[in-house]
Point group: C2
DNA sequence: ATAATATAGTTGGACATCAAACTAATGTCA
DNA sequence: TGACATTAGTTTGATGTCCAACTATATTAT
């Protein structure tokens, strides 16, 4: 909830959005811990998410996809590499480029991530009709595109 | 967008929420910079927000209000104190307690914050009817309460 | 009243994050 | 071809954040 630069009305949008994000992160962290996965934080989710769908990504691609600075990606990749979840190798053609791939250990997390996602969604949408889910996503998409 | 521990559907809620929060933060930061306020970050907004409305708060109250760890509040208060925006004093009755107040310099920011809030809201809600604004806030409130 | 417990806040360590400065490799252009 | 510019990624330094351990003060229970 770091968005308190807001008046009464803004509080009902941006502060809500911030609070939900914080709570979702905490939920994900709890779920990971409950599965004995103690070395991964929500911030790493983006890296895994995109590597599950792309067998190979460069640092720059990853930075763009998770919308983080390239220096942030350097440190995330170092962390996850040190833990054995991903590996990096220099591109043979363009030697400036670093390619990132999941290791076997990394790929094993996919099922856990999917399950946690399902639980997160279930929790978030308690009491929602299909129509309401659709509406909230549509409205949030419009807010997102307004920036 | 640190919530990529998600499948296709979740992406449409939690990732959206994360993306919006990030963008709102960036917007606020830009607006602050544009006013020549370069030493304040979005994370400080919560402290100001609550101090505009409460002339005096303890560290613990602040921590609860902005939903951050008390040690985080220690460092935020140190930062803002060093910049001259707030001041702390020990409570005479219960000497464990620290009271936080805005300085004159801190109070001067209120108008800027209010203006930034208005602009942020205007931007977020471009194209929204009053009814849609009401709906999105209601639905988000329900999601928030589901956690 | 004294010992045990609880509470307020700080400290230390880890890490995510960004911006700015940097290095290394590639590309361009005269 | 050689100088300049661009691009990929790393390094450095600052800050926000949490947790766990700690200090100091206050409260409670025996």
């Amino acid at each position: 909830m770091s968005n308190y630069i807001i008046n009464m009305e803004t509080e009902h949008l941006i502060a809500l959005v911030s609070a939900i994000r914080d709570k979702a992160n905490r939920f994900i962290f709890e779920q990971l811990k409950a599965r004995g996965i103690k070395d991964i934080a929500p911030a790493h989710g983006g890296v895994f998410f995109h590597l599950f769908r792309n067998s190979e990504l460069t640092m720059g691609e990853l930075a763009r996809l998770i919308d983080r600075d390239k220096s942030t990606v350097t440190s995330l990749v170092e962390k996850l590499g040190g833990l054995g979840y991903i590996k990096r190798e220099r591109d043979a053609v363009d030697r400036r480029v670093t390619k990132i791939r999941l290791t076997q250990k990394g790929r094993l997390l996919e099922a856990d991530f999917e399950d946690i996602s399902r639980r997160l969604l279930s929790k978030a949408y308690v009491g929602f009709s299909d129509k309401e889910m659709e509406v909230i996503v549509k409205l949030l998409t419009r807010v997102n595109n307004n920036f």
